[in-house]
């Protein structure tokens, strides 16, 4: 099947319906394995057991940024290629991205309190992630305030493209400015600075979070297609109503 075939919502529904149960099962297995590895991971020599927060905080942070990149590609699909599923993909991803960003902010605060002595500081990394959360909320609000899905899709796509500027700012904020947040220790030119006993559970949890995103995204896109079908049926019903 060619990728272009997925542009047909009916075909997408049928294919995603077959893939979704397997993807959900794989996600659950990956999470179970990740939690098992995380539980057995040694404590950090400086941070002690609080390093276990990293196994959820870091994947959530990566996903928060990745989801926005997925939305950016979808925004290009909406504005440039007018792909019929692109704005649905963008709309469906926004609440999931917001949830991952919220998890990142909350777990980061709960990790910061025992390690830094504070839940929050307005440093570049924390502030830019908070801005990302606000932008996710902005996209969700935009979709809800404009009735016409085509117009809402275009407006949300423009906001998403503008917001994509924040992603490199988040990534490099710890290098560009003096922050309380530590610099990158996994994704860096010289390779990961974490011991494999902690790195492996972290990567397995990152895969589990990524699979969870794809599962939820597919499910949310299916919901979006159903919503549009209902909308078109409501319009047909209104057109057929007596007195028109």
């Amino acid at each position: 099947m060619a990728l272009i075939d997925l542009a047909n919502p009916t075909r997408f529904l049928s294919l995603s319906g077959r893939v979704l149960p397997w993807l959900a099962a794989l996600t659950a297995l990956c999470f179970a394995f990740g939690f098992w590895l995380s539980a057995g991971a040694p404590d950090d020599y400086q941070q002690g057991a609080t390093v276990k927060i990293m196994f959820i905080h870091v994947p959530a942070a990566w996903l928060a940024m990745m989801v926005w990149m997925v939305m950016t590609i979808a925004a290009l699909g909406t504005l440039v290629w007018r792909h019929p599923l692109a704005d649905m993909a963008g709309k469906a991803a926004a609440p999931i991205g917001a949830a991952f960003t919220l998890i990142c902010l909350i777990t980061g605060s709960l990790w910061g309190r025992p390690m830094w002595g504070t839940y929050w500081v307005w440093d570049a990394r924390l502030t830019s992630v908070f801005v990302l959360f606000l932008m996710y909320l902005g996209v969700i609000v935009l979709w809800r305030t404009i009735d016409d899905p085509t117009r809402a899709g275009r407006a949300a796509a423009i906001l998403t493209l503008v917001g994509a500027i924040n992603i490199p700012i988040i990534k490099f904020s710890v290098d560009w400015w003096n922050t309380l947040h530590q610099p990158a220790s996994v994704v860096k030119m010289s390779g990961p600075a974490i011991h494999s006993s902690i790195l492996v559970p972290l990567l397995v949890m990152a895969v589990a979070f990524t699979l969870l995103f794809f599962t939820l995204h597919l499910a949310a896109m299916r919901n979006e297609i159903l919503k549009r079908r209902i909308r078109s049926m409501q319009l047909m019903q209104a057109e057929a109503a007596p007195g028109r």
């Binding site: 098992w36 539980a39 057995g40 404590d43 002690g48 057991a49 609080t50 276990k52 927060i53 959820i56 905080h57 959530a60 609440p95 999931i96 949830a99 919220l102 998890i103 909350i106 777990t107 709960l110 990790w111 309190r113 025992p114 969870l212 939820l216 499910a219 949310a220 299916r222 919901n223 159903l226 919503k227 079908r229 209902i230 078109s232 049926m233 047909m236 019903q237 057929a240």
Partner: protein, 80 residues
């Protein structure tokens, strides 16, 4: 089960995992309940005979195809 000593900051670790579980459960719950609700609404529309234009067109095309094949069959019968 691996015995774990979470040390003096156990509350923060447990709170972080609990918050993550709660947010993800809300998200999964919202998507699945919404799916059920949407399917119910679609079924109600279909029960009232309201279908999308493309569905109606597909049904008409299928009906026309059946009519054609039946006509062909009866033609063959009459020739025989």
């Amino acid at each position: 089960m691996i015995p774990m000593d979470l040390g003096p900051h156990a509350t923060f670790i447990i709170a972080a995992y609990a918050a993550t579980g709660f947010i993800l459960a809300l998200l999964i719950g919202w998507i699945t309940t919404e799916n059920r609700a949407l399917r119910r609404i679609l079924a109600a529309f279909e029960q009232r005979g309201i279908t999308r234009r493309s569905d109606a067109r597909q049904r008409e095309a299928r009906k026309a195809e059946t009519r054609k094949s039946e006509a062909r069959k009866s033609e063959l019968h009459s020739v025989a």
